[in-house]
Symmetry: D3
Subunit: 228 residues, 6 copies
Amino acid sequence: MTESIEMCARKYARKDTQVYAVSPDMGVDSIECYVDEYLSVPGVLKEIVKGDREENADAYIISCFGDPGLQAAREITDKPVLGIAESAIAAAKMIAPYFSIVSVLDRSRKVTEDVVFNYGATQFCRSIRSTGLSVLEFGENPKKGLEALERESIQAVREDGAECILLGCAGFVDFVERLKSRLGVPVLDGVMPAVKFAEALVDMGLKTSKVNTWKYPEAKEYVGYTGL
Amino acid sequence: MTESIEMCARKYARKDTQVYAVSPDMGVDSIECYVDEYLSVPGVLKEIVKGDREENADAYIISCFGDPGLQAAREITDKPVLGIAESAIAAAKMIAPYFSIVSVLDRSRKVTEDVVFNYGATQFCRSIRSTGLSVLEFGENPKKGLEALERESIQAVREDGAECILLGCAGFVDFVERLKSRLGVPVLDGVMPAVKFAEALVDMGLKTSKVNTWKYPEAKEYVGYTGL
Amino acid sequence: MTESIEMCARKYARKDTQVYAVSPDMGVDSIECYVDEYLSVPGVLKEIVKGDREENADAYIISCFGDPGLQAAREITDKPVLGIAESAIAAAKMIAPYFSIVSVLDRSRKVTEDVVFNYGATQFCRSIRSTGLSVLEFGENPKKGLEALERESIQAVREDGAECILLGCAGFVDFVERLKSRLGVPVLDGVMPAVKFAEALVDMGLKTSKVNTWKYPEAKEYVGYTGL
Amino acid sequence: MTESIEMCARKYARKDTQVYAVSPDMGVDSIECYVDEYLSVPGVLKEIVKGDREENADAYIISCFGDPGLQAAREITDKPVLGIAESAIAAAKMIAPYFSIVSVLDRSRKVTEDVVFNYGATQFCRSIRSTGLSVLEFGENPKKGLEALERESIQAVREDGAECILLGCAGFVDFVERLKSRLGVPVLDGVMPAVKFAEALVDMGLKTSKVNTWKYPEAKEYVGYTGL
Amino acid sequence: MTESIEMCARKYARKDTQVYAVSPDMGVDSIECYVDEYLSVPGVLKEIVKGDREENADAYIISCFGDPGLQAAREITDKPVLGIAESAIAAAKMIAPYFSIVSVLDRSRKVTEDVVFNYGATQFCRSIRSTGLSVLEFGENPKKGLEALERESIQAVREDGAECILLGCAGFVDFVERLKSRLGVPVLDGVMPAVKFAEALVDMGLKTSKVNTWKYPEAKEYVGYTGL
Amino acid sequence: MTESIEMCARKYARKDTQVYAVSPDMGVDSIECYVDEYLSVPGVLKEIVKGDREENADAYIISCFGDPGLQAAREITDKPVLGIAESAIAAAKMIAPYFSIVSVLDRSRKVTEDVVFNYGATQFCRSIRSTGLSVLEFGENPKKGLEALERESIQAVREDGAECILLGCAGFVDFVERLKSRLGVPVLDGVMPAVKFAEALVDMGLKTSKVNTWKYPEAKEYVGYTGL
């Protein structure tokens, strides 16, 4: 999945933008519940610290539709950090009055619902639909996955009033083009807008506000973690 | 004002982006109340139609912080249309947990409040402050204007808990750098992010959803307008 | 349509109330999208200015369910200005716990949704349904229009829990009585309550607050408009 | 207090409107807390039943700013029933973008806050201020009461951004004119708009929807009450 | 009904907790509309005063799912007073992300909706469903009642996304166990959590805040009531 | 801090309740920002798994006012899991109409604000105030800490309208009694109500709903973690 995310990111990145896709050495195969979300965050934070110290990265993207650890990530660096859910929602609002999100397991819907609620997007979100398939099932049987995404997307447009479809999983980047041609409404993955908005923020010279909430953590002892 | 907006837009645009700033031939000197907002819209729409027909523009920016006529503009073209308030708010949310907006006359606050409310950003907006100066007074006495902006911005940070300042008027683009250096928090004009987000949307090949709400208007007779 | 609105208004007005229905000389045949809304406003404002200067009107009603330009209208006169959506919603809340709005094209729903949201009535509005017919189709085939309104209204009551039906178009005034007798719930057009609330406000001697937001526009040059 | 309410109501009522002000024979001297609210309702309901059976009333007004028992009252009659808080808020929204409510004891603020919240008016209400004086103190020392109302109203306008003042107690009807002349913003008592809106609803032939929520109570035994 | 509530309360109460279930001598057979709600309150308040004066009760529970008179009850005693709707909602939020409420008549839904809205629980409540049966019908034909509750509960889980069912009537305490075994999700009556939370508050020594809103009513004359 | 939390918990627990306070072997000295929150969660989850496997615990309490990882914790066990912020808010709503939260660093306010927003308690929360002192400073100089808490609490009551004070840090359990005696309003730590509500849920036999959102995580590989 990391590879296809990287390919998508590179496809939409400008020529002078270097994209590095990394998968933390701590974490989970796929992220589908709150446990998965939380267990992925320490590894994500470690990669950002490494990006600041070793790779001089200009911006960071957390490529999971729950945007796990986004606020924490903004504390440990002053470079812009973007979540793909946040980016997809911001882009969708610019091109459509209402969107729906189509995602993986039914249990995963609340993670997405929390994201939509916390970003103040409830009034623009017509529905959050699930395909009932796990991230790994999508990987194993992409054809079945595509059909399920198409089925739920069509219902979102016809029954729920969606005028734009957001794909609620970073593993769906390869489905965007095929769905777009079938649905007749814009289809958005989150990786694509996150890359473009990251470039935009860097071009503007914007950095995360360090005046209060998201300033660097106070110096204290972290037990059981290295690299932070 | 159109000139300084154009200079700002060009400063932040990529080298391969051509920026045309136009001032409609219908409209008002400055926009500070609902009458001004509404009277500016027919001219704005006309310019967009012209941009589509004659100039083959890739995207449009409505450069007034009330985003007047934004939804109407999205109906008459399928190219992305961005408002500067919408863009400033979207950018601010990516780099700060809370922002305040500093604007012109006290009476103009409700226009801004409506924008914030309708974009689902009320929970992120700590305050909307006014300097008590009109757009034209800012033009005539920029020093006084800068001082007033600084004074209100400092209060927004200290008393209201803002961690980012949005300048609520397109006429403020020249003040961004000076305010930023004095305030210690990010300062955002809306023109800058609107230009960058327009580039981003064009790069992604995204167009306004034409499936329902924002499709082209039904063919009907418009009396008293030409060019639509 | 102007005629039937005038007849409706006169039917419900008191004997000592004089009703003048005017159709601005700028504008659109029918109002069904944001472009239509915005293009109708300059003409509406011009008529209000004329009403103040030449006809000594006591109050104004904007007879389109999107209440286009309502806040602008309140700036250019101190006489009460009422929108028919605002009036219908206010009246509905006094006689029923929940209402639904039945309107014209599906694309027009968002205009109505924005109105409901901005008036703080979301919690009372069970649904906004569309008949799929344009304003002009209603004019050409009223029987078909009535059937469509009845069909959607019945569904609003049975499926959505509406206990009162608002007709979301000023062109529907002639359908009120027939729908009421068939539905068993109150049916409200907006013209009727707007007329009665206008009389009420005039009787009370109430005028629009001119202390800040809605005071008269600052003196400035309006290019391309006459009569303002 | 009943007398001055009646005088106010008669002053604003049309000539062909008969006003009867009654004080229930169960209840409390003044209403300032939830206990007072609840204890007043059985008597209010009894008067409405009596009004329907014996006096053939066309509409009812509950003249206490907490609108106690309003939904219950709408169940036991099909004639329009109006609350004075509801009416004042509806009228205020028609003439000003924001209002504040000035009321009696500080403890009474929550009753008013609940009303504003339940009517969907939170976004229009800038503040609820209290004078710290009880209803009875207003009766005993009207001069002191007027001064306290004026002081709080001025602060509501200057500090809270109110552009219209609502007087949050039916006992304040006599203060409206004097406050209006001093404040420079519209001042609204609730009795006045309730009378006018009641006339409006009756003129329109509107009755309370009896389809579900507010239909007549099921036949059942009420122990300890007579006259219901 | 009072007996089965008492049995339920005793079943869940600790051994050292004494439970007294009383039915006020004023009031209604069953509570299904706003009139019923309001007419029950004076009797409830009287019982609480009696509980304070004669029985030295440590806490009070209002056993009707509309929590009638809860704020008034908190004014006349400093002992904790709990509503069963409030308690059921608080407990549900601790064990499930979303709940639905299944209740009696369709008309009764708004009482429940108001409760959910006023407790800030709208975002957790998936639906409020009614069985269409009155409280008395449940008493006469419990088998039919159980079937209706089961049918609506299953739909709430399958169609509305509920993950916990709240029984919206104190008369349903006997159905909890049977429904739980059939539904596969937690089923909550309100009496059970109200008893346990009352014990918890008493153990903590917590009393109702008497600093402002809920302090004892001002001394005044109550006409037509005794025992307050 | 773990010790004083344990002492507090034991003080309020029933005699037949065994309390074990554990500090995870992964984590941070004190929790004051999002990084701290997220880094504490893996250790918390590990302790809960251990509690299920080895200690047969009946319920769990996460003793940090941000309730870090609460939803994840509810996934990995079916025993009730309570957060102290959630418990304090639930208890406060039962005894006061409005509360304020007084906490540590100013930067920590957003964590608390997110909690309040996500629990649907915004309408009851008058303010979130910070003392400007870190958790460790409270430990080093409790007298200074108490004074700061008292100062902010008094302002919350007088200026913000709080009628109950919640202490927004598990490290404040020792301050409850002293503040209560000085403030005249209820003062709540979160540990105390969490213990009592945990007992209540266990007594009721309630377990976390496992039907969808919070069911056990799908079997998958967790890299870099042991004990989950």
